[in-house]
């Protein structure tokens, strides 16, 4: 396996030793990215618990926009397969969903199941438009625009202006689907959108569907829930998992000088954030390069080099992906396990040392 310490190629053991040394002396280590298979995410939480690290994900901005709205108003959601099979009206909220592969599937097929089977599928758009039959530019921003639709759906606004027409089409649909990208729409917008789906569901069927998540965030959310009872951004500094989306925001911690070591986990490739270079870091990445971090260990990509459980976008579930091109690259879970063992043997710093 390939590994680098401070840019120089080295062996696996030396790299793990260097990574362990870097993490052992840190006061507030952060494990970020978490773009990996379930086994590696579990190993990352195990390591975090052992060294008192906090955890953050690659796409946490969008993930927390979703979770924040979910925790307050709940959610009416559907799956991509159900949307393709049943939706006769699709509202595309914002620009990002137009780039999603799901949209092509929706455009290419007609509904085949349920009450709308055989009918044409209509596309409506809010914000950006590509090929929709009805589109409203929404100058006031997406949260406001979704709110206007919701006001029409609740009969608090009336008339045949564009948003009124869009709301009427949704209300007349057999099975409406509202497509959005959580990071683009934001928490306020998602909460509005869920309210719109709920208002429409008083008389017909209407569901939301999020597209375009980053990394393996959708796998991390259930794994962190079953391991800690909390959402992903948890810290183990005080031995118990504490959930605090503001305090454990990795980018904020680095900017404020609170984090003094970062382990970046991206066995499933994901863009590396800028702040990573501002702090001593260890990178466990599939597409490794010497300069990615102070210590770089190349790991196998789940679903390619080795099998692993990943989020399946198509089926909206965690599924096992066998290795498509098996190799002898170590899995991220193995490397994290070795790190945890090394740190347990070396005994991380205790809480009773003097501080200031």
């Amino acid at each position: 396996m390939a590994a680098w310490v401070k840019g120089g190629a080295t062996g696996a053991d030396t790299a793990i030793e260097a990574a362990a040394a870097l993490l052992a002396k840190a006061r507030a280590p952060v494990i970020a990215g978490l773009s990996a298979d379930v086994a590696a995410i579990r190993a990352a939480y195990d390591l975090a618990g052992r060294i008192g690290a906090s955890v953050d994900t690659a796409g946490s901005f969008g993930t927390y926009a979703e979770l924040g709205a979910l925790s307050r108003v709940g959610a009416l959601t559907t799956t991509p397969a159900e949307a393709v099979g049943r939706a006769d009206v699709v509202l595309v909220v914002g620009a990002a969903p137009w780039q999603a592969s799901l949209l092509e599937r929706l455009i290419d097929a007609k509904p085949t199941r349920g009450r709308a089977a055989g009918s044409e599928r209509a596309f409506l758009a809010l914000g950006a438009n590509a090929t929709a039959s009805l589109a409203w530019p929404a100058e006031g921003g997406l949260p406001e625009a979704v709110g206007v639709l919701r006001a029409y759906a609740r009969d608090h606004l009336a008339g045949d202006a564009l948003p009124g027409q869009i709301a009427a089409r949704l209300a007349a649909a057999q099975y409406g689907v509202l497509l959005y990208d959580p990071a683009e729409l934001g928490e306020a917008g998602i909460e509005m959108l869920q309210g719109l789906a709920m208002a429409l569901s008083e008389t017909t069927r209407c569901f939301t569907l999020a597209v375009g998540g980053v990394g393996q965030d959708r796998a991390v959310v259930p794994v962190s829930a079953w391991l800690t009872g909390q959402a992903p951004r948890s810290g183990f500094g005080r031995r118990v998992p504490e959930h605090d989306p503001w305090r454990f925001d990795a980018a904020r911690q680095v900017a404020a000088g609170e984090a003094d070591a970062v382990l970046w986990l991206a066995a499933v490739p994901v863009a590396r954030p800028d702040w990573l270079s501002a702090v001593p870091s260890v990178a466990l990445v599939a597409e490794a390069e010497a300069q990615a971090a102070e210590v770089v260990i190349s790991v196998g990509q789940p679903g390619r080099d080795h099998g692993g459980v990943l989020w399946n976008e198509q089926r909206a579930a965690l599924t096992f992906w066998p290795a498509s091109a098996p190799s002898n690259m170590p899995s991220a879970a193995t490397v994290l396990g070795a790190l945890t063992e090394r740190l347990a043997a070396g005994q991380a710093a205790s809480r009773s040392e003097p501080a200031c």
Binding site: R27, A28, I51, G52, Y64, L67, G68, S71, R72, G140, G141, P143, E144, V146, G147, V148, R150, A151, R154, H156, L157, A188, E191, M192, G195, A231, G235, F236, G237, R238, R239, H243, D244, P245, W246, R247, A256, E258, A348, A349, S350, R351, S352, E353, P354, A355, C356
Partner: protein, 264 residues
């Protein structure tokens, strides 16, 4: 008056949930200095960062604040805390009574979930002042929050009860408000977006969402009562109610029982 004097910038975020006059009253100097206030695996004890001087009274002064001091006065039920300097997130979160004053700036989520007492920030406050933390049912819930400087975005987000008075505020002031009163001299875009009930009194605003409808000018007895109530907190804000007012009703996306009063 007990005093904690900051000796050096804290090396990590400090949690002051358990540091209040009531909790310190029964402790000896040594016991207080050994209280764990750190948040990382290394940990920090109160005496590591602060010089402690206790006198068993119900008022506490923190000389020298820092933006890493989290949850100052959180869950305070009685007594007085005064901070000379800045504080971090969740100032006075869940506070039930007493009085809390910060002479510098406060981080995000000040007064979140506070049910009673008065919280005064003489400088600026971060985002979500008087707003709800993740998964909380409500933001400010009965307490009084006064921000003399500028508040960040989402001031009073999901607030349920109580009063907020702020100099200026960012975007989404009073968003998703459940009930309560918020007064500000100027706010950013989208005041009150998603509000259900509640009253906003503002001097100037950015973009008003299309889901708010103007319902004309009114002269209500309630407004004079509100002015009397606000005068004790901030005469400048009470004066807003003396000007001609336009009333907006909304947010029409929700049950639309909220109102925004805009002074001309």
């Amino acid at each position: 008056m007990s005093t904690l004097t900051l000796r050096a910038a804290p090396p990590e975020r400090i949690d002051f949930l358990n540091i209040n006059p009531l909790a310190l009253r029964g402790l000896s100097q040594g016991e207080a200095e050994r209280l764990e206030v750190g948040t990382t695996r290394t940990g920090v004890r109160l005496g590591d960062c602060f010089a402690v001087a206790l006198d068993g009274s119900d008022s506490l002064t923190i000389e020298g604040g820092h933006e890493r001091l989290d949850r100052v006065g959180a869950s305070l039920s009685a007594g007085t805390i005064r901070v000379t300097g800045d504080v971090g997130q969740r100032l006075g979160a869940g506070m039930a009574g007493g009085s809390l004053t910060v002479t510098g700036h406060a981080g995000p989520y000040a007064a979140s979930g506070a049910t009673g007492g008065t919280i005064t920030v003489e400088g600026d406050a971060g985002d979500y002042a008087g707003g709800a933390v993740y998964a909380a049912k409500a933001g400010l819930d009965g307490a009084t929050l006064i921000i003399r400087g500028t508040a960040g975005a989402h001031l009073g987000d999901r607030m349920r009860r109580g009063t907020i008075v702020a100099g200026r505020a960012g975007a989404f002031a009073g968003s998703r408000m459940i009930a309560g009163t918020l007064a500000a001299l100027a706010v950013g875009d989208h005041p009150g977006l998603g509000m259900r009930r509640g009253t906003l009194v503002i001097g100037a605003h950015g973009r008003m969402a299309q889901t708010f409808v103007e319902t004309g000018a009114h002269d209500l007895v309630f407004l004079r009562l509100l002015a009397t109530a606000l005068r004790g907190l901030s005469p400048e804000h009470a004066a807003l109610l003396g000007r001609p007012l336009r009333r907006y009703s909304g947010d029409l996306a929700t049950i639309a029982k909220g109102e925004i009063w805009v002074a001309a």
